[in-house]
Symmetry: C2
Subunit: 202 residues, 2 copies
DNA sequence: TTTTATTTTAAACACTTGTTTAATTTCACA
DNA sequence: TGTGAAATTAAACAAGTGTTTAAAATAAAA
């Protein structure tokens, strides 16, 4: 079975990611991570020095997955309306495949845990093609004026919020897993239509 | 100074609410709560039996504040468009006054912590006047068809999501407290306009 | 094989956790 | 004023926490 087993360090990291994503920093326990990885607890510190350092590396990766995906989609060189439809479609799929990432990334950034600043996210956004593209469309009078941050918040919020509120949404709508997925699929049509209805000049 | 000091039980509960809202269930420590209340740690269990029970009562109250406010606004007997403008305005103010509630309510409901089911929220929504009103407007052809849950998610998500992502939003937009508040004020106009632009038949 | 470095382990460490106990103080009321 | 219940406290408890240590097992190098 050559190649089936991965090296210990990767095994620990994979286990830690799963546990951190489900329970958060405070809720995750080193022993639980070690158990999930099938290794001795001392090995966790042997490879990663401390719980905090292990957490940080995992947080960074997930923040980049969460955020980098948005930036990537925003900067594709497609016409604005096509792009908006595509963002909603692709990002919804991404979030459905990784439903724990948004709550993890957002909830762990509330109490001073702002080491995402190290990633220079602001510069990435400001220099983004999307910002320029939006400004041009506004200048042409093709769409109504709106700040990029408002548009991004609207698009992403409409996709991500139902995931964050999923237990409540599923309960209220009486939805099982398939039902919830279908609910999200329906939003792939509603959200871009709503955004475009707003942007189109009257 | 009669009436200035409240009774011990209330003092503990107020302190616990503040600590739980900021740090979550796992992050909050009994000793921190007792310190914030200025009482001996044994008193916390004396009045509330256990951490879990204290947490639950606080969670329930905040869930009701978060959710009851929505239901209340949804069920006012005003024309639909007026109502949507009013919901966004009032709920934004509510959330700005209680910015920690959304993350608290949502993040603590991810891991099986689903005791909000005890509150019979589903029935409240289904029997809501809003649901009926929406159906009537659709039948009349006054607005385009949409499921109530989609409309509610869209409205609430557009208000609440920026609050959940506030550290990131503030960082990207380079906003201080006033700047963020102004950002939210701008949304009071954008969100209802977007929703109405979608709902109005072509 | 012998030697050296790397990896893994069992056990303990020092500290924090929620909770309980038993004694003390406070206070209403007879 | 004296009595008993309620409120409060210091201290301890048992279990759980992240981390470290020192020895053992494994792998690599000589």
């Amino acid at each position: 079975m050559a190649g089936e087993e991965q090296d210990t360090e990767a095994k620990i990291k994979r286990a830690a990611e799963q546990v951190f994503l489900e329970y958060g920093y405070e809720g995750a326990k080193i022993r639980q991570i070690a158990d999930a990885a099938g290794v001795n607890i001392a090995l966790v510190n042997y490879y990663f020095r401390s719980k905090e350092q292990l957490f940080k590396s995992i947080y960074m990766e997930n923040f980049m997955a969460f955020f980098g995906r948005i930036v990537m989609l925003l900067n594709e060189e497609t016409p604005l309306e096509v792009k908006i439809w595509k963002i909603v479609d692709r990002y919804t799929d991404f979030i459905l495949d990784n439903p724990l990432i948004p709550m993890f990334v957002l909830s762990e950034s509330r109490n001073g845990g702002t080491f995402f600043k190290e990633l220079h996210v602001r510069e990435v956004i400001k220099s983004a093609y999307f910002t320029k593209q939006l400004q041009e469309e506004i200048s042409k009078g093709a769409i109504r004026p709106i700040k990029p941050l408002h548009l991004i918040m609207t698009i992403i919020g409409n996709i991500v919020f139902p995931i964050l509120a999923r237990p409540i949404v599923s309960y209220i709508g009486d939805l099982d897993d398939d039902g919830f997925r279908q609910f999200m699929e329906e939003r792939k049509k509603i959200v871009p239509e709503m955004v475009m209805a707003y942007l189109r000049p009257t």
